[in-house]
């Protein structure tokens, strides 16, 4: 294993920026998609005070953070 000099160009600011935007994308997509599902459930079941949207957004946020930690965390 001593001679295994893998030619990786690690310090790449482009991939860091990509990771950052990926995380933001996960967050926005999570909140948006699940908020949208919650809103549709709202309209279908006529939930009082639009609780469906709230719970959908919370679930979406939790799922997005979980995805970020799992795929991009250490």
């Amino acid at each position: 294993m001593a001679g295994d000099q893998s030619p990786q160009k690690r310090p790449d600011p482009q991939s860091d920026a990509n990771a950052g935007w990926t995380a933001v994308g996960y967050l926005i997509a999570g909140i948006g998609v699940w908020g949208g599902i919650g809103w549709l459930v709202d309209r279908w079941l006529d939930v009082p005070m639009h609780f469906g949207t709230l719970i959908g957004m919370l679930v979406g946020m939790a799922g997005a953070v979980y995805l970020i930690v799992k795929t991009m965390g250490t």
């Binding site: 690690r10 310090p11 860091d16 920026a17 990771a19 950052g20 995380a23 933001v24 967050l27 909140i31 005070m49 639009h50 949207t53 709230l54 957004m57 946020m61 953070v65 970020i68 991009m72 965390g73 250490t74």
Partner: protein, 261 residues
Amino acid sequence: MSLQLAPLAADVPWPPSVEEAFFPPGVAGSLWVTKFSIMVWLAVAVIIVFFLVTQRNPKLVPTKAQWLSESIYSFVRNGITKEVIGHEGPRFAPYLTTLFVFISFINLFAIVPGFQISPSSHIAFPTVLALISFLIYWYQGAKKHGFWSYIKTSIVLPAPWWVQPILLPIELAQILLIRPVTLAVRLFANLFAGHLILLVFTLGGFVLMGSGNIGLAAVGVISWGMSIVMTLFEAGVALLQAYVFVLLSASYVQSSLADEH
């Protein structure tokens, strides 16, 4: 000169009321997407992206951003968890660092132009944060000592038997009620008062300038100077309250991890 300044005071809400100043309407009439939820989402996104990007390819000789995130983490880990909790401290360092950075960020929104109000000036956000700390120190105490044994060790202090009936209810209220409530209300009240002070000085400056009296207009300028001083003071209070919240949470965890008397 006073005639030109009179329009300044035309539609300034004076005195600032709690309803107008602290409860802006929801975005697009929605009940749940308000200015405060957007601020919280923004804070979460910035914190996640910052720590993710700086710790992705950590080098032995750190870059500037990596140094910054490592300094913040080591400030909480070495300065708070190792000092206060002791040996088992670093186990709680991730939660306490996140809490510290999140609360600082949220509090600093109070002086950022554009937002100029902090979500922690609504009682809901500090309540949830205090509730999470409360659950953590109860869970740690129950895990270490067993549920009823933990309550017994926390309440019964070394004191003569005839003083115990006075001490037991006080200690029970302390661990059950006083600690989480004061954690939440301390953060809430500091940010609420800070926002109110800034409102009074800024809006008061407008009212004084538009009053038509040259003496009062001079006082209006002083009022605006005071609002600048108070903005800097508010920045200090924001960071200090985050630090105290985290320090007290660590201290409560330490008290539930402490061995039997």
